[in-house]
């Protein structure tokens, strides 16, 4: 079997923060551009679910044999995130899940492992997701640079959107950016050293060796999609690898999304794939604790299947963060006044017992009367039949907003109001949930909405995830 990329997807959070906001807060010179900021109810796990859903449009989820989730910012230091993502995606019970962490190169390492698994015949389809929501120290260049996002690639043996012609990897003990067990924010060494010896040195080394190994030259590639330190060094890396920065190099997304860490290189690759047609060759490389390089050949299935939102559509769909205060709330960067309110509820037995309709958002369809209902109960809400249901996944169904209200007191919400919603699914079924990524002044009964996997509360050191709705991201 020859493993290739069957499908791809990406996710960029709705909110963007302009560099002007940071310039105002810190009194520094304004820089151009903006970066993507995950909403308060998002993290690397929820963004991974989004990118994976985008990648799996039109793909039978039962056919996925494995899921690698790469991130340096998993929600739990101990407790696998990939297994939660797999459950939210409603993948098979016997899916192989694994978190790949501790390096922004994790996504491409996971890609290599997935290619190996498919080539070895131990899996037919392997999903590789890279997602990061790294929280930088305030008032640093990292605060300007770091953005949030995710990308996903479906590796498989047939119907390729892109084939992998060659790969090369170097591993390196080189230390540039790190975060200790007890730290929330990354540390780094002097920039001149880590860029010159680290980023630029490793990128040119891995590219040179890939060219030698494959017999390809820089001129053979239509596009070069690779991770970036900053815009200037991104161009410098192109020069050292032998690419023409203007005609060949794919936009780094630094000025629109930011440096999304583990997700960055894969998001740039997705962006390149979106513009490619069959036969195009893409140089794809990633840096961090060494480097990975791939020669990717765009294949016949590119552009087939349902349209993905990918990088392009997610980029175009955005809301601007009005101020830095919102950002502080979203990333919980200050000590806030305690609120007198009934605490949220956390019960792992309840979470486990309800896993089919919470994590996987499967409703019940009554075998007697055919109606769909959620949350699931023993007795049919319509015909009172007992214990006679089939499970149906509702998370990917079209839906409309039957009614809504905006609770300005906003319990458990650092960004009130709580938009309470009654969501009716196409084909039946209704859900009470809250709405996220919304402008409360632009809501209308009967408007189209879609479900999105989010963090609902954090309580007793447990993050309780579930599905909210949002206006459809056009």
């Amino acid at each position: 079997m020859i493993a290739g990329i069957e499908s791809y997807g990406a996710y960029i959070p709705m909110y963007r923060m302009t560099m002007d906001i940071l310039a105002q807060v810190w009194g520094s010179a304004g820089r151009k551009g903006e970066k993507a900021v995950a909403n308060w109810d998002e993290d690397s796990l929820t963004m991974a679910v989004e990118a994976a859903i985008d990648c799996l449009r039109g793909v039978d989820r039962e056919s996925v044999d494995g899921l690698y989730l790469a991130s340096t910012s998993p929600p739990y230091r101990e407790k696998q995130a990939a297994s939660i993502v797999a459950k939210a995606l409603d993948l098979r019970r016997d899916v192989v899940t694994c978190d790949v962490g501790d390096s922004v190169r994790g996504g491409t390492l996971a890609l290599r492992a997935a290619l190996d698994a498919v080539n070895a015949g131990s899996a037919k389809r392997f999903l590789v997701v890279a997602s990061d929501c790294r929280v930088p120290h305030a008032h640093t260049s990292f605060e300007e640079q770091f953005g949030d996002g995710a990308a996903a690639l479906l590796v498989g043996a047939s119907d390729h959107a892109a084939e992998i012609e060659a790969t090369h990897t170097i591993s390196s003990e080189f230390m540039d950016i790190w975060r200790r067990e007890e730290d929330r924010h990354v540390q780094s060494w002097e920039e001149r050293f880590i860029v010159e010896q680290g980023y630029l040195g490793h990128m040119s080394e891995v590219a040179t060796e890939l060219f030698e190994k494959s017999g390809l030259r820089p001129g053979d590639f239509a596009r070069a999609a690779y991770s970036a330190w900053d815009q200037r060094r991104h161009r410098e890396a192109a020069r050292r690898m032998g690419f023409d920065a203007r005609s060949q190099v794919e936009d780094s997304l630094l000025d629109s999304v930011g440096n999304t860490g583990t997700a960055q290189a894969m998001m740039v690759l997705v962006s390149a794939l979106e513009k490619s047609s069959a036969g195009d060759r893409i140089f794809f490389a990633n840096y961090g604790d060494g480097a990975d390089a791939f020669a990717v050949r765009v294949a016949g299935q590119i552009g087939e299947g349902p349209e993905r939102r990918g990088v392009r559509k997610h980029l175009a769909s955005k809301m601007m963060l009005p101020n830095y205060g919102k950002y502080l709330h979203y990333r919980n960067l200050m000590e806030w006044q305690p609120v007198r309110e009934i605490p949220p509820y956390t019960s792992l037995p309840v979470t486990w017992r309800d896993r089919q309709w919470t994590w996987s958002m499967r409703g019940h369809q009554c075998r007697q009367c055919g109606t769909i209902q959620v949350p699931v109960k023993r007795i049919c809400n319509w015909c009172q039949a007992k214990d006679d249901f089939d499970e149906v996944r509702l998370s990917d169904r079209k839906a409309t907003l039957f009614s809504y209200s905006t609770d300005t007191l906003g319990t458990f919400n650092p960004d009130p109001p709580n938009v309470l919603t009654v969501v009716d699914f196409e084909g039946g079924g209704r859900l009470l949930t809250t709405m996220t990524d919304r402008d409360p002044d632009k809501l209308q009964p009967d408007m189209p909405v879609e479900l999105t996997f989010r963090k609902i509360t954090e309580h007793l050191q447990v993050k309780n995830y579930w599905w909210k709705c949002r206006p459809v991201r056009a």
């Binding site: 609120v339 007198r340 309110e341 009934i342 605490p343 949220p344 509820y345 956390t346 019960s347 309840v350 979470t351 309800d354 919470t358 109606t371 209902q373 959620v374 949350p375 809400n381 319509w382 039957f402 009614s403 809504y404 209200s405 905006t406 609770d407 300005t408 007191l409 906003g410 319990t411 458990f412 919400n413 109001p417 709580n418 309470l420 009654v422 009716d424 039946g428 079924g429 209704r430 859900l431 009470l432 809250t434 409360p440 009964p445 009967d446 609902i456 509360t457 447990v462 309780n464 995830y465 579930w466």
Partner: protein, 397 residues
């Protein structure tokens, strides 16, 4: 064969504490205030009471001890009942059944709540308790009721401005009533413009669309109807009691549209059948109903069959629910202005109807002319998942 509760049980005494932010009163003080007024009104003492039912919606106290401890009720049987905001009428109903069964001849009913010790307002202290890690998290009482307002406006073609103005008129009416009621919590008149301009709590509901969060207690002494005349001539008879505990399908079934209180329809039908009422709008002299939010009143009037569905806003504009109107609604000020100590409200509604039927309104301008029969409507839960109790009280014929 089941029999109607009609004319079997009489209220021979009623009491009600002042409602409000009663910082200087504990829940035990409120029980003493309400019960001793009821004892005095009935001409009995605590030693005469054979049993008690206490309605308490929040866990501020547990068991029947909530009443026997403050009153030192000497080891008598007391039962605590809970049906959220519909608790008060449920306490009355269970006590009435015990009396109708002639298990007891003199029973104390108390509804009570002490909300203002929690240090929070509607959003927090009054927030629905969370029983699930994710489902309905963040859903509040105002938020739930506002879902109904949004849909009501949509269904009946009211613009948000028209809808909000209709609701505003309801609040203006309720405050006009409550401002003149000495025991009410929020005793001030409000104007339509004040209501419209008030801060939004849960769109489209603003501050003046929401009831007071109050401390308070209300009590009644009941006995078998045939014994009532030995206590007083102007006793009040229970004419009918209907209850519906909804199966909670509003958030699940797509055929529920949030413009009707289904449980209210069921409970109303049962109560009217028992009372022999066929045209409630004409036969009832007054209605005390559960207006925790202005939209709750608008829809409850329709669901009780006092007005055609979708025509409530026309009634509001015509003043049909004013004191001088066709069917006075919430003459007390309602939950809106009189206040809403959760477990107390059903008993407080019974107190208002008793005093009106007996011609004893403390402020003379509030007194109706020759009222004969009143309805009390009390509901707990949220739209789509209600518990509702309806009771009809009337003078002997």
């Amino acid at each position: 064969m089941a029999e109607s509760i009609k004319d079997k049980v009489a209220i021979i005494g009623a009491g009600c504490s002042r409602f409000g932010e009663l910082w200087d009163k504990s829940y035990e003080d409120l029980i003493v205030d309400a019960c001793y007024e009821a004892f005095e009104d009935a001409g009995v003492g605590p030693e005469d009471i054979q049993a008690g039912w206490v309605g308490l919606g929040t866990p501020i106290a547990q068991t029947g001890g909530a009443v026997s401890i403050p009153l030192k009720l000497d080891y008598k049987p007391v039962t605590r009942v809970e049906n959220a905001c519909g608790t008060g009428t449920e306490a009355m109903r269970n006590a009435a059944f015990a009396v109708a069964a002639r298990v007891y001849d003199l029973v104390l009913v108390v509804g009570m709540e002490k909300l203002k010790d929690t240090g929070a307002g509607f959003g927090a202290a009054f927030n629905l308790p969370v029983y699930h890690p994710v489902y309905e998290v963040g859903f509040s009482a105002p938020g739930f009721y506002a879902l109904a307002a949004t849909r009501y406006f949509r269904r009946y073609g009211l613009t948000p401005e028209q809808g909000k103005r209709t609701l505003a008129r309801i609040s203006v009416k309720s405050h006009h009533n409550g401002a003149r009621n000495p025991r009410a919590h929020l005793r001030m008149e409000v104007t339509e413009e004040m209501v419209m301009a008030a801060p939004i709590i849960a769109w489209p509901l603003g501050l003046f669309d929401c009831c007071g969060v109050s401390d308070g207690a209300a009590a009644a002494i009941i006995c078998p109807a045939e014994m009532a005349r030995s206590f007083r001539d102007d006793y009040i008879l229970i004419k009918g009691m209907g209850v519906s505990a909804g199966p909670g399908q509003g958030g699940i079934r797509t055929d529920y549209d949030y413009t009707v209180w289904t449980e209210t329809e069921y409970a109303g039908r049962e109560a009217f059948a028992q009372a022999g009422i066929t045209d409630p709008r004409r036969e009832l002299s007054m209605v005390e109903l559960h207006d925790c939010f202005s939209i709750a009143e608008l829809i409850a009037v329709e669901s009780l069959g006092l007005c055609e569905k979708g025509r409530g806003h026309e009634d509001v504009v015509a003043g049909a629910w004013d004191q001088e109107g066709e069917i006075p609604v919430n003459l007390s000020g309602g939950l809106k202005s009189f206040g809403h100590p959760i477990g107390a409200s059903g008993c407080r509604e019974a107190y208002e109807i008793s005093t009106q039927l007996q011609g004893k309104a403390e402020e003379p301008s509030r007194q109706l002319v020759n009222p004969r029969m009143g309805l009390c409507h009390n509901q707990g839960g949220v739209p789509g998942k209600f518990y509702c109790a309806v009771a009809v009280y009337g003078l002997p014929e």
